[in-house]
Point group: C2
Chain length 349, copies 2
Amino acid sequence: MNRRLNVVPFVDVDNMMKLVHAIGIERFLVGLAHVIEADFRRWPAFDKTARVASHSVDGVIELMPTSDGTLYGFKYVNGHPKNTRDGLQTVTAFGVLCDVLTGYPLLLSEMTILTALRTAATSALAARVLAPAGARTMAIIGNGAQAEFQALAFRALLGVDRLRLYDVDPAASEKTRRNLAGFGFGITICDSTQDAVMGAQIVTTVTADKQYATILTDNMVGSGIHINAIGGDCPGKTELHADILHRSAIFVEYAPQTRIEGEIQQLTLEHPVTELWEVLAGQAPGRRSASQITLFDSVGFAIEDFSALRYVRDSLVRYPMFSELDLLADPDEPRDLFGMLLRAEPSLA
Amino acid sequence: MNRRLNVVPFVDVDNMMKLVHAIGIERFLVGLAHVIEADFRRWPAFDKTARVASHSVDGVIELMPTSDGTLYGFKYVNGHPKNTRDGLQTVTAFGVLCDVLTGYPLLLSEMTILTALRTAATSALAARVLAPAGARTMAIIGNGAQAEFQALAFRALLGVDRLRLYDVDPAASEKTRRNLAGFGFGITICDSTQDAVMGAQIVTTVTADKQYATILTDNMVGSGIHINAIGGDCPGKTELHADILHRSAIFVEYAPQTRIEGEIQQLTLEHPVTELWEVLAGQAPGRRSASQITLFDSVGFAIEDFSALRYVRDSLVRYPMFSELDLLADPDEPRDLFGMLLRAEPSLA
């Protein structure tokens, strides 16, 4: 796919949407979850570092690199909660996959849409080993850009087909209902979080405020629930009351990062947590009983993005939804970079 | 320049070469040095971290981020010395400049050529405050991809017009002479490093072996010389005998990074060094006497790349050598990312 060395396949936003539709949204989510699971199972093979964050007053810009020794990937992602006021996305992202052997990029891809898909796929993957058996009803607290992706991933991977929606802005819930109209969910729009969690076996919290918020309080959480907490994902941004954490079995992606960014920043560093990969690799149990409260404290980790880039790259073989970027200087003689520049002078052309 | 929010200006290799020729190579180097100098003078305003490196058997892949609080930039760069055997570049790079206020990318650019230019501009900038007055003769040890850029930057910024070239491969020196034929240098190709340094006031070492090498030994270095050491730039890769370091006043970009990657990895952590920005900002002296040996132990730092991206972005206003990438998802309603995806379904188009 990449014979001309200077050319890097590029999946722009338009091609990413075409790729998702060519594969099918739910099939894409299932395929992506499969690759994430495979990569989580070989977790020790990866270079892992907490993301490299640059914080400012209005948000954060992060680089999330990882490598399995054969491929290297990184994602650029920002988080700017106030952006929506100006008609901008809260989160935008793009990523690059590279060949470790040569250091040459193999793929550049938009990752705003891809991040939404991989976040949902990871949530559903976790719920498959953590949610109570036969769960079909999910509450979604926060009906922003991530809500529909969560709904479809849980449907595709777990068979969830009843949704209870709540957002501080009723228009957001309406938007979510409208977008999901053709997918066969039973959808109830609720007046409050308390109302939304009634009868739900899974509670997904995915709000966007950058502050210590208490979206779920202790009294709302009954036994046997699985909580899929997506929105608390940076220092100072949490969604759950600490009392809930003390009653829950807590599962995380990468503990050193989640202790800084996740719900568990409210707990001591000694509080026991289980990394999801351990469950997927059969090294730790997931849900232990029907009455247990399980919590997936998700902040997003670089390996999920690596898996997503890998899935996209593999998919391009069958669905060639990409263009080509002349990103790399490729002189005929590697030491002759200057000669290449010199010969490109317009008067010599 | 960037009114459509989803579109990011992209300078590919072809446009970078056009931009360099439109401005003129030497004028580009001078303009770039000017921006680097301006940024070095406001050094304390920047977020500084050592680069984020992923080492493998054959090379290294690095991310180099920095921010001044208004703009954020990062570069992806690899270093794979064995690549040339397979007809690949040892170093390839690209970079992104972003708006800190929104987290949105403002520019994506190739940086293989741009890195060669900024490395040379930084070397010449350092030499302007460190080389002996009136220096006109430079030895270049290692005549690979960086050699001509160094030569032109030293000519443009210092008036160097006599070159003494040496490379273990005579064909590399011939290539350098051929490429520089039209620029009015007096060029001598030498049989050895010892021969090359004879009569030179400036010695540039820019070899590419990834190992502890001794390109310059102590007996080759006379008083009053300025050494511009470019090639030693990662752990285990040095070019100078330690005795030279002990006789020299040593200048570096960012000490915490250079102590790991530069020539000074051979010294104790207490050995005194001066950061170049201190000299440029008038906070520390450069060369103190005609007999002093000065050494610029250059490894490349993120702020230089930031400056280079800034220079390119500013230049695009007058010289619009860029294309536009649909890199960012930009739904009409920011919370409706899924709706944008849904409406892109081909059957609905």
